[in-house]
């Protein structure tokens, strides 16, 4: 069981900044995120795109913002449970909560801060009636263990970087790789596109474009897929695995069933006070919350995180006195023993 003071669900910019603000109040944080890396949308959707409305940064790339936030909160030693989705929450008799992920990892904390953005990123599934019947029986939306495909026949669908990169990677492992895309053009790094071209020319990748998978067949597991080229009769391609790679889209997911008040696909909070939800001890901050006048901006998430931490302090340290301190005056004492502080003024007489 992982225990912490504030359990943050979502390791995007708002969640990461929460670690810093909580740290100033000597509160520990642990973050859960469904993605394998921190940064949320900033690292998953648009790491190379600039943001222009982060105060004091006239321009910063979303990926760089993530790095800066990680650096800023580093001395407060946050814990991470990555690649796992927060699934269930149970309130304990002592008022604390236990959050369990889809992989069974348990986390206990007196305060929960949901900084889940638009939800957890889930693979986008192609519109094939029976696709769910074959999930984990030959259909995988993500490649977790490449060895699974050793000496197997694999069909990959998609036109982005992940479809290209995995086709290249698996061409050395699988007995055959077929890449199917709706267009002749691929949207990926130029060297990946060129590498696929090379592997196609040498017969190591079977490329079928412009085409779509129109059916999955098999008895209990995938045996073949039906591939339809525009304006042609469908053909059957024998395969052991079908891997659709059509990107990820965020879904509110299991959090929607936690008994929280939901409005407009977001969690209602008390914005007059501390961004607490209808369940005391559970806060929602950043893009995942809603209140009158809500704006889904990173900078608003930072503000919400700051106020939320002050309120969480009162839950964790009931009745304990505290006043806001300025980092310039008080410095920053890390949990790792480091200290940052403003240099002392130099006093020296003039002779």
């Amino acid at each position: 069981m992982i225990t912490t003071d504030i359990l943050i669900i979502g390791a995007g910019p708002t969640g990461l900044f929460t670690v810093f603000e909580a740290g100033l109040l000597k509160l520990n944080c642990h973050l859960i995120d469904a993605l394998p890396q921190p940064g949320g949308q900033c690292s998953e959707l648009y790491p190379k795109k600039p943001i222009y409305d982060i105060p004091a940064y006239p321009e910063i790339l979303a990926g760089d913002l993530t790095e800066k936030l990680l650096e800023q909160c580093k001395q407060f030693e946050p814990g991470f449970t990555l690649g796992e989705r927060a699934e269930t929450i149970e309130k304990q008799e002592d008022g604390s909560f236990i959050v369990t992920t889809n992989k069974g990892t348990k986390h206990k904390a007196p305060v929960i801060a949901i900084a889940g953005g638009l939800g957890s990123f889930e693979p986008r599934k192609p519109l094939l009636d029976n696709i769910t019947d074959y999930e984990d029986c030959g259909v995988e939306y993500m490649i977790k263990e490449p060895e699974l495909y050793r000496d197997k026949k694999v069909v990959i669908a998609g036109g982005g970087d992940s479809a290209l990169d995995w086709s290249i990677f698996l061409s050395d492992i699988a007995s055959s790789v077929t890449l199917i895309h709706r267009r002749n053009e691929f949207r990926g790094h130029l060297d990946s596109v060129e590498k696929v071209q090379e592997l196609k020319n040498s017969g190591k990748i079977n490329l079928i474009t412009p085409a779509e998978i129109t059916a999955i067949n098999g008895n209990g597991k995938v045996e073949n897929v039906e591939v339809t080229k525009k304006g042609e009769a469908p053909i059957l391609v024998d395969t052991d695995h079908f891997i659709p790679l059509f990107g990820l889209s965020p879904k509110l997911g299991p959090i929607a069933n936690w008994g929280l008040e939901i409005e407009k696909n977001a969690i209602k909070v008390n914005n007059a006070l501390d961004y607490q939800t209808n369940i005391p001890g559970i806060y929602a901050i950043g893009d995942v919350n809603t209140y009158p006048g809500k704006l889904k901006l990173i900078l608003c998430g930072f503000h919400e995180a700051t106020l939320m931490c002050q309120s969480a302090y009162q839950i964790i340290n009931p009745g304990k006195r505290y006043v806001l301190k300025y980092t310039t005056v008080a410095g920053v004492d890390g949990f790792d023993g480091t200290r940052k502080e403003a240099p002392k003024a130099v006093v020296k007489a003039i002779q």
Binding site: Y46, H181, R182, R183, R187, F246, S249, K264, N265
Partner: protein, 111 residues
């Protein structure tokens, strides 16, 4: 002041037709117009914020209104999206201009 609004028709995901006025002077795109009138629930449209990266604002263009040509990123996204038809466009890539008076679109299903 001149009226800088144009009249457009949007059929929502429940098939309901809305005749609305869209401003041409606020640098708004079609996805943002749909959101401003709340014709699709928040969180189901414009998820990526308008970067042509999610296709949640896909719509079918029903009128023969002349629209800006499709750029590479829009075409690439539509090639990976679902429910795509020949008249599919991403609303976030269509800036509202006075020439679009009379535009009629239907929102594609959520996916």
């Amino acid at each position: 002041m001149d009226n800088l609004d144009i009249n457009i028709t949007i059929i929502d995901r429940d098939g309901v037709k809305h005749q609305i006025e869209a401003p041409t002077d606020m640098a708004m795109n079609l996805m943002e117009v749909v959101r401003s009138y709340e014709l699709a629930p928040e969180g189901t449209i414009g998820i990526c914020g308008g970067m042509a990266m999610c296709a949640s604002c896909q719509c079918y263009v029903l009128s023969d209104t002349e629209l800006p040509e499709m750029q590479d990123d829009e075409e690439a996204m539509l090639s990976e999206a679902f429910y795509v038809k020949d008249n599919s466009r991403l609303g976030c890539q269509i800036q509202i201009t006075p020439e679009m008076e009379g535009l009629e679109v239907e929102l594609a299903p959520e996916s």
